[in-house]
Amino acid sequence: MSLSISLTINGQARTVVLDDPRVTLLDLLRERLDLPGTKKGCDRGQCGACTVLVDGRRINSCLSLAASLDGTEVTTIEGLAEGEALHPVQAAFIAHDGFQCGYCTPGQIMSAVGLIKEGHANGDPERIRELMSGNICRCGAYQGITEAILEAQKASTEANRRDAA
């Protein structure tokens, strides 16, 4: 069987013919669309390594069937930087050493971008830690992750304020 879906991935409209209805968004990205930046850590929605944004919201791409995503807009780690200019969250992760092995990092960063967009946790490290707890980092880079998000959130709030003014 085959099934065709149309979706936007990292700003690019794509029509994808699915060879199999069992394909998850994660395996679509990694194994069929040459976007391996999104990582598989558990394939069960337990670790967050596969986090991407769908229509601006963070989701576990391993739990999402590709066939159900017709018409959506997907952003992955590969689509975050504008050319060579890093997204503020990416730059903050480097500055605060918010990763070690780097494997959970794409998921952490996408989750952080989603979190900042949600606007829940302004400036409150405890809330950030709670709202980032769907993303496991086995290396234990959590302190840097939290500091990086605090900094990026602050930068984003200030940028919004400037835009509003």
């Binding site: 040459d34 480097i94 070690q100 494997y103 794409p106 980032m132 496991i136 234990g140 880079a141």
Partner: protein
């Protein structure tokens, strides 16, 4: 594939060893461009999925291979009936570190999770579903799952070749001389590495050569081992491991599933990718073995140790031995006239354990540090005062000097930063503003300093930049960054002028990335290769009448900022670019093989040390435990990059927190099945679980451990932390829990 670690200078700062540079691979990692093994996708690639045993002991009597083969997209199903031969017997160990492996050699089942078939298909979905169609039938034997039914046995060695029993002094006399003997048993559970990146391999054969994209902590050893399995020379095995998504010891040793995938690729003449599922990582790729540890600590009226006895019963598999060298943690730390440490093995129907971050020290220190806390209580002494009273000025038993030991400074600085002074001796004395019980505990951290032979090459180029190369592994420690800093310093260059290549087996052997010894081992090789290149450059310059350095050969030159300077007259200097240009040379190449001087090693005890202080808060009604504050002070020789070192300490302290309060594989004693073989039920700390962390880097100058004075930092953070947290729980509640992890129910049951 070489690793491009060039990153914009604007995002980095500092210029030399000792500076807190950000990671050279940071840009690749935050943009998703860092390539891990399973990210590779060669043309024509097939997907392999293992089917695993659901019983712990017995035989597979039937597999529905027909159903699996009939599934659309399936290319091959490997079982013991058709598995092609291997040149090395998988039931024989592979020296020096290789374990026996389960590669479909027969129908025997030795643990839950053992591979019993390999399905290869055009897509991952097809292979996964076909593996589920195999419907294995078993002949089931009773599983040995616990101390009550496992087989105890004596040991020839523990860990990797360490002695199973060590005696110093007269234990019986020491115990007889004691005014008090503290005696207790401690239990630590089986733990699984659970690196975020599952074990993976993409194997592609070209005739009798194979390319393996795989995470690997020991490339040269692995090439030799794969060569032996596949009957090809080691140099025909190319391993590419530019990034590892965590290793923690589990990616240093060959395992069955990866061998099977490589075999399938050769058989089918197409590239094959295999990625273990999370559940499949609970069995064939090692774990930290379950231990039961008995400690006896004799103390005199002044609170001085008279005897220390540490016995560890350690679980291993039915068919191979890796014995957690837990009791050896009691050897190097506390001064006692009599010390006996000993180990005993316990055979269970489980996958073979292996080295997991701080093997031996983590489990052993957990027990020792709680026992020391109990002994301090028995002596009516503050736990820190008690440890200072038993401070070992030389190595206990042997009297060898330590190569360096700034542990006293760690104790004092850590206590000061934490605010330890004034801690009440009695438990249940402190509450916070919400009524939670507050407790403070501490533990000593210790880790030995191994050094692996390693090689490196440094090429100074005509444009004044350099290329440095060694086949090392960066699994998150920051090796790419710290090693490049060391090389840059040896070459007298800024790190940004140094291109660093690593992570591929064709480069000079970088040794093993394990035992917290990689920075010292590969670093020394890089340093020496850099010095060799500089010496060759100096020979050119000092022999050249046109050089301002002409004739300075006997006086010597120093390399700094891309120039050679006369030692006695720094104003006389010449740039690398000018020296090479005039000599008409495109480059000079320095090489080095480096290892530890055995005479110096024999004469000294070499350890990193530290002290960890913990605060916990416990809900008095619910028993819920939160670690709220951890302060660690560590002395580990020379620090190359304090930013990365601090991150290693934090990671270790979080592992210690996890050991103390979270992680444990729970086995169903009837079936031998691990009931929580996934990341939802096997608890590792998430962000909200992690306390406020502070790591203090204590200065330590070590002239003996290696010429660079570098010790290891990757594992020591776990040690000390586990005991500190458990001791803080006692201090908060008055309940002494001797089984890890400490659980809510332990506190509730004790209270009831």
């Amino acid at each position: 594939m070489s690793l491009d670690t060039a990153s914009p200078t604007a995002r980095r700062h500092g210029s030399n060893a000792g500076q807190p540079l950000t990671r050279r691979d940071g840009l690749l990692k935050v943009t998703g461009r860092a390539t891990y093994a399973a990210d590779n996708h060669p043309d024509g690639m097939l997907y392999a999925v293992t089917a695993i045993s659901r019983i712990a002991r017995g035989r597979v009597t039937a597999l529905d291979v027909g159903a699996a083969r009939a599934h659309a997209g399936v290319v091959e199903v490997l079982t013991p009936a058709n598995r092609p031969p291997l040149a090395h017997d998988p039931d024989e160990k592979m020296p020096p570190f290789g374990f026996r492996v389960e590669v479909l050699q027969d129908d025997t089942v030795r643990y839950v999770g053992q591979p019993i078939a390999l399905v290869v298909a055009e897509t991952l979905e097809a292979a996964t579903e076909a593996a589920a169609l195999l419907d294995p039938q078993y002949e089931i034997a009773d599983a040995r799952t616990d101390r009550s039914n496992g087989d105890r046995f004596g040991l020839a060695a523990v860990g990797i070749g360490a002695p199973p029993r060590t005696v110093h002094g007269d234990l019986a006399a020491g115990l007889a001389a004691a005014t008090h003997v503290t005696e207790a048993e401690y239990e630590t559970p089986a733990q699984y590495h659970n690196a975020m990146e599952p074990h993976a391999v993409v194997a592609e054969w070209h005739g009798d050569r194979v390319t393996l994209d795989m995470p690997n902590q020991a490339m040269a050893l692995s090439c030799a081992a794969y060569g032996a399995y596949f009957d090809i020379p080691a140099e025909n095995v190319l391993i590419r491991s530019p990034f590892l998504g965590g290793g923690f010891g589990s990616k240093a040793i060959l395992n069955g599933p990866q061998i099977l995938a490589i075999l399938a690729a050769r058989m089918l003449k197409r590239p094959v990718k295999l990625v273990l599922t999370r559940t499949q990582m609970y069995g064939p790729v090692g774990h930290r073995g379950h231990t039961w540890q008995k400690l006896r600590i004799g103390t005199d009226a002044q609170g001085r140790l008279t005897a220390l006895h540490h016995h560890a019963l350690c679980a291993t598999s039915s068919f191979d031995e890796f014995i957690e060298p837990a009791a050896n943690a009691s050897l190097p730390l506390y001064d006692s006239p009599a010390i006996l440490v000993e180990h005993e093995g316990l055979r269970l129907d489980i996958g073979t354990p292996g080295p997991m971050r701080a093997p031996g020290e983590a489990s052993g220190s957990a027990a020792l540090e709680v026992a020391m806390d109990e002994a301090a209580v028995a002596c009516g002494m503050d736990p820190l005062e008690f440890r200072l009273a038993n401070y070992a000025e030389t190595e206990p038993g042997t009297g060898r000097p330590f190569s360096s030991k700034a542990l006293r400074e760690c104790y004092l600085e850590g206590a000061k930063r934490f605010g330890w002074a004034g801690r009440p001796l009695e438990p249940r004395q402190m509450r916070d503003e919400n009524g939670f019980l507050v407790g403070w505990g501490m533990g000593t951290a210790v880790f030995h300093c191994p050094h692996f032979p390693a090689e490196a090459r440094a090429t100074l180029r005509a444009d004044g930049t350099a290329l440095v190369e060694t086949a090392g592994a960066d699994m998150g420690q920051g090796a790419w960054t710290a090693l490049a800093q060391i090389a840059a310093e040896a070459l007298g260059l800024d790190p940004d002028q140094v291109e660093f290549h690593s992570g591929i087996s064709t480069l000079p052997d970088g040794g093993i990335a394990g035992g917290s010894g990689h920075t010292a081992s590969a670093g020394l090789a890089l340093n020496n290769a850099g010095e060799d290149a500089i010496a060759k450059l100096a020979a050119i310059a000092t022999a050249d009448p046109a050089s301002p350095l002409f004739g300075a050969g006997n006086i010597g030159v120093v390399a700094r900022s891309g120039r050679l300077h006369r030692i006695d007259d720094e104003g006389r200097s010449e740039s690398y670019v000018d020296i090479l240009a005039r000599a008409g040379q495109a480059e000079v190449i320095g090489t080095a093989k480096a290892a530890r001087d055995p005479a110096i090693a024999e004469a000294h005890a070499m350890f990193s040390h530290g002290a960890v202080f913990a605060e916990v808060k416990v809900d008095p009604d619910l028993g819920q435990i939160r670690a709220t504050r951890l302060v660690g002070a560590f002395a580990a020789g020379r620090v190359i990059n304090p930013r990365l070192v601090r991150s290693q300490y934090f990671g270790g302290m979080i592992w210690g927190t996890s050991f103390a309060l979270h992680e444990e594989a729970v086995t169903d004693r009837r079936t031998g099945r691990i009931m929580n073989a996934d990341l939802a039920e096997y608890h590792v700390p998430v962000n909200a679980d992690v306390p406020s962390l502070d790591a203090i880097l204590i200065e330590e100058d070590d002239p003996y451990v290696n010429p660079l004075g570098i010790k290891g930092v990757g594992e020591i953070g776990i040690t000390g932390t586990v005991g500190a947290i458990a001791n803080a729980v006692w201090h908060a509640t008055g309940v002494r829990v001797r089984r890890f992890p400490v659980r809510i129910e332990d506190l509730l049951i004790a209270r009831a």
